[in-house]
Structure formats: structure tokens, C-alpha cells
């Protein structure tokens, strides 16, 4: 709880710091603040404290996810030092909004009442609508923000309608009570309840870009400022899945059969669409967007294979995925800068010759994304498959495996560009801090693959 409060305060502090007109102090303050948050979060570990009539529950699950998200945010802020050098206005707002979004994410990991979920989603989303449009005069940024907002609020109405229906049937917003309510039907839920739950699930699924509610994500990811995209595809995704899992785990398990089947269909569709659409992608940012959809599919797979390690697997998956994604985005930013704003895959050509170390780490990161041992991405996928196969979902596991192959194809397609020579490669400039962080992330990605952990959450 103290972490939550502290983060909000931090956001406000950052807003005020905007008046100082000194961009240089923003990132250090934000990072220091988040470090403190991290410390506060660690302090709560194992306490399982509940607050305000059980509105939010800071159990180990939420703390673990929060820690993971804070770490990723810190990473992004570190990269932001360099990134926001170029930006002149509203830097403080950017930091503050990200912090606010993080607050929303905290709520999404710790809610136990639908209203907290709703508020969490909104607190997360509204700053993101703004952040996506952060490059005010950029047409693409504008479009991204607009699309995100329109589709997002539409999804919110759907979500709310679902909440209303569930409330109508069960007369409560508390997940444990909903669970009790559901359990008295022995799996034969009334249609109203079913539809209501479906709508709620769709509302959350929208946030994590699960097909067929994923349409916003490629466009928004492509149009938004790259750092924001990195934030969205990591922290927001983590928060979304934490919320999703919590919703299922606290409120709906064992999942009513029709809903379960619907979710399986969504998982399959997500895997298919995410991977297939990325296959022929030539825009790197968009490729990452589709790949992020694809990863959603894998996480869904882990989530639906209900097992007591599912939460840990999702945490591991989202964390290592984020850990690989952020530096990839950073390398991309650097490449894009060098290539005069081009976002095509071909800008990576010749990187190996130009900066072999960057190329090697990019390779490691991409390998992690593709799921090649011994990187952590492989371990994540492995654990997902262990879950899904142990729970007997063989058919969808085969589909997932085939899709993993496709995934390998497009990641290695990029890698191939990196190692192909070109007459004049783009003169990429890497600042020391960025280089250090890329190295740290690359090493961490491998190390996490070798030292796999399993948290009891």
C-alpha cells in the first residue's frame, strides 16, 4: 500500500519538477523514486495485507508482479535518459504519466473488487492514451492515440456492461463473493451471468491484445513513440495478464466450460494471428507488435492450463519477455535514429559489421524472444508447454509449437538482416549508459535462462 501511495506522490513530484525546466534531473528522480518503491514492495513481501474492505489485496502474487513491472519501468527510464534528450517539451509529463500508468498497473495486480479492476484499467489506460499521442505533431502518433482511445473506450463500455450484468445476477462486485455465487450453479451458469463474465473477460482481453480484440495493438504500437511502445508492450502487458490471471484465479476458477472454451478459441486465434501476421512484416516496430500478440497467445496458454505454478510461469514469461523487449526497442530506436527515421527491417542490415557487440546482444535478445535455449525465452516457453501438456491440452500445444516455429522464422529473419553485409551500414551511435544496459539485459536474459526460478505465488 505504501508503495502505491508513494508512486502516486512520485508522479506528482515529477509533474512539479517539470516547472524546474531541467530535464536532466527528471530521470534520476524517477529512477530513485522507483527504487524506493521497489524497496517498499519488497518490505510487503509475504505479508498478504488487505486494505479498505478488501478492495485491494497485496499478496505475494501482486507484489511479485509489481516488482517485475517496477524493474522494467526502471529499465525504460534508464533508456529514457538518452531518449528524452531529443524531446523538448512535456518530458516531465511523460515521466509522470508513466508513473501514473504504473499506479494503475499496481491496482490491476492487486484488485479483489471489480471496481478496482475497472479503475485500475482506466488509470492505466488514460495516461497511455495521452502517451501514445506524445508526439503531438506527428501524424502517426496522433493516429495511434486516437485509435487507442476510441477502441479502448469502446472496450470499456463492453467491460462495464459485463460488470452490470454480473452485478445484476450476483449483486456484488467482490471477486470472492462472485466465486461463491458461481459455485452454487455447479457449472451451469445462467446465460446472463455467462454473458456478463464474457464481457468482462473481453474487456481485459482487449487490454492484453488477445485476438480477435487485438486490432488496436499493431497500429498503436507502430504509431506511438517508441519508448511508450516499449512501455506498453511490457509493463502494460504484464499488468493486463496479472489482472486477467487474478480475475480467473480469484473469481472464476474453476472456469465455466463455455467460457473456458471461448478462451481457448481466443488463445488459438491469438497464436495464429499474431504469428502469421508477423511473418511478412517489413516494419520492425509492427513486427514487434505482432510478436507481442503472439506472446500473449503463449501466456494465455499458460493461464488457461490451470495449475498451481501457472502464476509463476506467467510472471516468469512476462518478465523475461519484457527484459528482452525493452533493449530490442532501444536498439531499434538507435537504428532508427541512424537511418533517418526508417522503420524497415532492412535498417538492421550491416549492423554486425558496424557494431558487432550490439549485433551479438541483439541476437541473444531475439533468440530469447524466439525461444531458443539457453535463453530465458526458451525456459519460459518450455514452462508454458510443460503446463499445457501436463494439463492435457495436446492439440493446442501442437498448434502453439507450430506457431513457435513461425515465430522463430520471423525473429531469425531479422537476425539474418543483422548478419547480412551492406555497402554502407547506418552509423549507429550508442551512448555508454545504453550500451551498458543492453549488455546487462542480454546477460540477464541468458542468466535467467540458466537460473530459472519458481516463485510460490
Amino acid at each position: 500500500m505504501s508503495a502505491l501511495i508513494f508512486t502516486i506522490v512520485l508522479g506528482i513530484i515529477l509533474l512539479y519538477l517539470g516547472f524546474v525546466k531541467n530535464k536532466a534531473i527528471l530521470a534520476p528522480v524517477a529512477i530513485a523514486g522507483l527504487m524506493i518503491t521497489l524497496f517498499l514492495l519488497f518490505k510487503d513481501w509475504g505479508l498478504g495485507s488487505k486494505y479498505f474492505h478488501d478492495m485491494i489485496v497485496f499478496d505475494n502474487f501482486s507484489i511479485a508482479f509489481n516488482i517485475s513491472m517496477v524493474i522494467i519501468t526502471i529499465l525504460i527510464f534508464f533508456f529514457g535518459i538518452d531518449y528524452y534528450e531529443a524531446l523538448e517539451f512535456h518530458v516531465a509529463e511523460h515521466y509522470a504519466l508513466m508513473i501514473f500508468a504504473l499506479t494503475g498497473a499496481f491496482l490491476m495486480t492487486s484488485f479483489s473488487n471489480l471496481i478496482m479492476l475497472f479503475l485500475g484499467i482506466e488509470i492505466l489506460s488514460i495516461p497511455l492514451y495521452v502517451l501514445a499521442g506524445g508526439k503531438k505533431y506527428s501524424y502517426r502518433s496522433n493516429e495511434a492515440s486516437f485509435k487507442y482511445f476510441m477502441l479502448g473506450s469502446f472496450a470499456t463500455t463492453i467491460f462495464l456492461f459485463g460488470v452490470a450484468l454480473v452485478y445484476g445476477a450476483s449483486a456484488t462486485f467482490y471477486l470472492p463473493e462472485i466465486k461463491i455465487f458461481i459455485s452454487q450453479f455447479n457449472g451451469h451458469l445462467p446465460p446472463m451471468m455467462l454473458v456478463g463474465l464474457l464481457f468482462i473477460l473481453i474487456g481485459v482481453a482487449f487490454k492484453v491484445a488477445v485476438a480477435p480484440f487485438h486490432f488496436w495493438s499493431p497500429d498503436v504500437y507502430e504509431g506511438a513513440p517508441t519508448l511508450v511502445t516499449a512501455f506498453m508492450s511490457t509493463v502494460v502487458k504484464t499488468a493486463g495478464f496479472a489482472a486477467f490471471f487474478r480475475l480467473l484465479n480469484m473469481g472464476l476458477l474453476p472456469l465455466p466450460v463455455p467460457l473456458e472454451k471461448a478462451l481457448w478459441v481466443m488463445t488459438g486465434l491469438t497464436l495464429l494471428i499474431g504469428n502469421l501476421a508477423a511473418l511478412k512484416q517489413t516494419n520492425f516496430k509492427r513486427l514487434l507488435a505482432y510478436s507481442s500478440i503472439a506472446h500473449s497467445g503463449f501466456i494465455m496458454l499458460a493461464m488457461l492450463s490451470q495449475h498451481n505454478t501457472s502464476a509463476s510461469v506467467i510472471l516468469y514469461y512476462t518478465f523475461v519477455y519484457s527484459l528482452a523487449t525493452v533493449p530490442i526497442f532501444i536498439i531499434f530506436i538507435l537504428m532508427k535514429r541512424a537511418a533517418d527515421g526508417s522503420e524497415e527491417l532492412s535498417i538492421f542490415r550491416g549492423l554486425y559489421k558496424q557494431k558487432p557487440w550490439i549485433a551479438v546482444f541483439l541476437t541473444i535478445l531475439l533468440m530469447s524472444m524466439a525461444g531458443i535455449p539457453p535463453t530465458s525465452g526458451f525456459m519460459a516457453k518450455y514452462q508454458v508447454f510443460v503446463l499445457s501438456i501436463s494439463q492435457g491440452y495436446l492439440g493446442i500445444s501442437i498448434v502453439a509449437i507450430l506457431m513457435a516455429v513461425i515465430g522463430i522464422y520471423y525473429y531469425f529473419f531479422v537476425m539474418r538482416e543483422v548478419f547480412t553485409e551492406r555497402e554502407q551500414s547506418y552509423p549507429i551511435q550508442v551512448s555508454k549508459i545504453n550500451a551498458a544496459l543492453i549488455v546487462v539485459c542480454g546477460v540477464a536474459v541468458v542468466m535467467l535462462g540458466i537460473f530459472v526460478w519458481n516463485l510460490p505465488i
Binding site: I115, F118, L119, E122, I126, Y129, V130, G133, K136, Y137, Y139, R140, N142, E143, A144, S145, F146, K147, F149, M150, S153, F154, T156, T157, L160, F161, V163, A164, L165, Y167, G168, A171, T172, F173, P218, D219, V220, E222, G223, R286
Partner: protein, 109 residues
């Protein structure tokens, strides 16, 4: 004021549900039907309101104030969203000089 009667006592709950569903669907059709962004925004507001009414009706039916508090929060969020949405709209108008939602389609495939 103390014993003010409530419509929920005489009107069947189904009627409220039908009414709200109708409104919700009208809003939905509006979203699909129109290309003017501002009207689509209004339609979304309409959908919010239908949810509000539904929640209030349920709240009254269950005699549980939580539903009405939820409505209050929805209103808060709706207001915030409208603020952000309209500013995005303004920005869009500034950039492309139109409010046609289909004009923004450079990001695709």
C-alpha cells in the same frame, strides 16, 4: 422523502434490462453507423449511460448502494475520458483538418 417509493417496485426488472440493452445497442449501432468522430464519442457516452441505468436499476432491485457508487465512478471515468478524448480530437482536427474516423488509416498491415 423518507418513504419515497421506487419504480423498481412496480416495474419488472426485465423492462429495465430491455431498455438498457436497447440503449446500449443504439449506441453500438451508432458507433458502427457513423463516421463522424464526435458523434461516435457521443454514442460511447450513450453506452456508458445505459450501463449506468442498468447498474442503478440492479442496485435498487438488490437494495445495495454499491451499484450506485459504481455508477458514480463510471461517471468520473467518463468525464475524464471525454476530456482526454476531446483533446485528442482537437489535436486530430489540427493535424488532418477532419473528424472522419476513416481518414486516419496510415497505420495498417
Amino acid at each position: 422523502m423518507k418513504n419515497f417509493s421506487s419504480a423498481i417496485q412496480v416495474i419488472p426488472l426485465e423492462h429495465y434490462i430491455i431498455l438498457c440493452t436497447t440503449l446500449f445497442c443504439i449506441g453500438l449501432v451508432g458507433v458502427l453507423y457513423r463516421r463522424n468522430t464526435i458523434i461516435i464519442l457521443m454514442c460511447i457516452e450513450l453506452m456508458f449511460n445505459s450501463v449506468n441505468l442498468l447498474l442503478t436499476a440492479f442496485s435498487a432491485y438488490h437494495s445495495d448502494p454499491a451499484g450506485q457508487v459504481f455508477v458514480f465512478f463510471i461517471m468520473i471515468v467518463a468525464a475524464a475520458e471525454v476530456a482526454v478524448g476531446l483533446s485528442i480530437l482537437v489535436m486530430m482536427k489540427r493535424n488532418v483538418d477532419s473528424v472522419d474516423i476513416n481518414l486516419l488509416n496510415r497505420l495498417k498491415w
